[in-house]
């Protein structure tokens, strides 16, 4: 995810995002302006309010100056933090901070939104809300979610890639993953069982 977000350079091979090469420094800025990213460890400036932070990130993501305020408000509204827009980030709960993180990631209406473990630290209710948001975001954008919570994938994603130690194990629809777990595997849900079956088969083949 850090490579996809262009924070680190690819160790090898080529990486094209949004039709441009990430290893070409001249194209990097244009790519980044169309990216939205929520890192696994979402770092924020605790003294900033939600609005400050989202507006600041909008400026960093090169949203045109005259659109920053409206774009920030829209993003804050979408993640349901309208009432807490004036609160300092350090005063928010973990779930709210996560939502603020999503708000900053979508403030520039990114063509590609990268969410790294977005549901870590959320309670079950917040996770359900987040899935709804994810579905909504996916309507108009390409959203890549990295997660260990298979239920989130089954509930909100249209395509799933299973990776093991940097290798692609599976790529297909969530329904295909679920189907694999209908009669085999370990786990509490078909999706979890399908995931475990995939990993077991991949590792035994290796």
């Amino acid at each position: 995810m850090r490579t996809l977000s262009t924070v680190i350079k690819p160790h090898g091979g080529t990486l094209h995002l949004l039709g441009a090469s990430c290893t070409d420094r001249r194209q990097l800025r244009a790519i980044r302006s169309r990216l939205g990213y929520l890192p696994q460890h979402f770092g924020f400036y605790p003294r900033f309010t939600v609005r400050d932070y989202v507006e600041y990130m909008a400026w960093l993501r090169e949203v045109p100056k005259h659109e920053i305020s409206a774009a920030a408000q829209r993003a804050i509204d979408r993640v349901g933090l309208t009432e807490r827009a004036g609160s300092r980030l350090k005063a928010l709960s973990g779930g709210m901070v996560r939502r603020a993180g999503i708000a900053q990631a979508i403030v520039n209406d990114p063509a590609l939104l990268l969410l790294d473990e977005p549901t870590v630290g959320l309670d079950p209710e917040q996770r359900v809300e987040f899935r709804n948001l994810l579905r909504e975001l996916g309507d108009g954008n390409c959203v890549v979610v990295s997660t260990h919570l298979v239920e989130d994938v089954a509930a909100a994603c249209t395509n799933v890639v299973v990776m093991d130690k940097g290798e692609r194990v599976f790529q297909g629809a969530p329904a295909d993953l679920t189907r694999l777990g209908e009669s085999d595997g370990i786990g509490d849900s078909p999706a979890e069982r399908g995931y475990s079956v995939l990993l077991r088969e991949h590792r035994s083949a290796a």
Binding site: G43, F44, Y45, F48, D52, W59, L60, R61
Partner: protein
């Protein structure tokens, strides 16, 4: 960029740094300035407190510089489109605005106090204050760069302590004295800093600003090398250009020495830096002129003495064997006490019958004091001399005075006149002989 700048001003440590710089600056300034009413002294004090304020700005910058790493926000920031130099600019600008605002506010308060209680504000002093604005900004930027490289909690206090220690060392080690932001203070109220002092500080300041910015914003080794070179270059310029001795650091500010005269006669004039003293000086000077009128060809005008060289603490800077007198005019020196007042103007003019500020080396002080006491009509002449430290007890000159008064009245006048005339051509050896009649003039 206005939006992010305003956010940084509100949410970063910029405002706190501004408050700290302002508060510490005010306390430091007050402790050095000590209620003086002199603009050049204020400008010196304002420059000297940079040895404290610059380390504070450095520490404040370091606190901001380590923010990205300490909050783990660096990864997110690096994923955005803005280049590094743009990302750093709002925070850097906020700190720059805060330290500039604090420093200029201190200067503004000083200027208002000078306008209210002093009588002179000069351009060189103002330049000296303004030159330190980029110095503070540069220190803050350099702090940001340091904080980004080593985002430790210990860095800000360590950096401030190290910078302060370097300043203390620079002030006392001759080889690096050119780097000192403190330097010797002016010895006279009309002394202003010279161009090399201003240029040295300006060179250092711009080195810090350029170096600090390149080191903060640069992502490649070229920028980092360029930034380091700029800081080193600025320090080298200051070291090379800044003079360390008073004689080269200060010059006589002609505007500060411009004469300002009171209305009425006899005319009494003082320098512009002391014009606020006219109400207290004029009655004393006129009283002295009235007493000097006992002597023939007495002066009818009193003017504050103005040297054409700076004072380094050596009497020879001011006194020699060439008299600097103007016909009909008596010169007097203003020796200001801690309240910036001079309460013994009359006595100091009468001392030596009006000759002690004529530019001559005065050797026989007992005779001078005796002549002054004789003119007062009393037995004592109380003078506190803060420049040369001349101080005589009554017992030192009493025998001369007694001997003088033993002569007939007309002879007494003749002898004091003779002393005056001899002193005014720098014949100052054994003036006692003139007063006691052992030698005719």
């Amino acid at each position: 960029m206005t939006g992010p700048l305003l956010i940084e001003l509100k949410r970063s440590n910029a405002r706190i740094l501004g408050l700290v710089v302002g508060a510490v600056g005010a306390i430091s300034l007050a402790s050095i300035f000590e209620g003086s009413r002199q603009w050049n002294m204020f400008a010196y004090a304002d420059a000297a407190i940079m040895c404290v304020l610059a380390p504070l700005a450095l520490a404040g910058g370091a606190m901001l510089g380590r923010r990205e790493q300490s909050t783990r926000a660096a990864e997110l920031m690096h994923s955005t489109g803005r280049p590094s130099w743009q990302r750093i600019t709002p925070a850097a600008a906020a700190l720059a605005a805060a330290v500039t605002g604090a420093h200029l506010l201190l200067a503004a308060v000083g200027i208002v106090l000078m306008l209210l209680y002093s009588s002179y504000i000069g351009a060189r002093g103002l330049m000296s204050i303004l030159v330190d604005v980029p110095l503070l900004i540069g220190a803050a930027l350099l702090g940001i760069a340091a904080g980004r490289v080593w985002p430790s909690r210990l860095l800000p206090p360590l950096l401030a302590s190290a910078a302060f220690a370097i300043q203390m060392a620079a002030d006392s080690i001759p080889a690096i004295q050119g780097l000192s932001l403190i330097g010797p203070q002016p010895e006279a109220d009309w002394e202003s800093v010279t161009d090399p002092v201003l240029l040295g500080r300006l060179g250092f300041a711009f080195g810090l600003v350029l170096g600090g910015y390149l080191l903060s914003a640069g992502t490649s080794w070229i920028f980092r090398a360029g930034g380091s070179a700029a800081v080193a270059g600025g320090a080298a310029v200051m070291l090379a250009v800044s003079p360390t001795g008073s004689a080269e650091r200060y010059l006589v500010d002609a505007d500060a020495q411009r004469l300002v005269c009171a209305d009425g006669v006899p005319q009494v004039c003082v320098t512009a830096v002391h014009a606020y003293l006219l109400p207290s000086v004029v009655p004393q000077a006129r009283a002295a002129l009235a007493k000097l009128a006992k002597l023939p060809y007495a002066p009818t005008r009193a003017v504050e003495w103005r040297p054409d060289s700076i004072f380094t603490g050596d009497e020879a800077d001011y006194l020699g064997n060439q008299p600097k007198t103007v016909q009909g005019t008596v010169s007097f020196r203003l020796d200001l006490d801690e309240e910036s007042e001079d309460t013994d103007v009359e006595a100091s003019i009468l001392n030596g019958a009006g000759t002690t500020a004529n530019g001559c080396t005065l050797d026989d002080t007992a005779a001078l004091w005796a002549a002054g006491a004789w003119l007062t009509g009393g037995d004592t002449l109380d003078i506190t001399d803060r420049v040369f430290g001349w101080q005589l007890a009554q017992s030192d000159y009493q025998p001369v005075l007694v001997k003088l008064r033993q002569a007939p009245e007309a002879e007494q006048v003749r002898r004091v006149t003779a002393l005056r005339d001899a002193a005014n051509v720098c014949q100052t050896k054994d003036l006692t002989a003139i007063l006691t009649g052992r030698r005719d003039s």
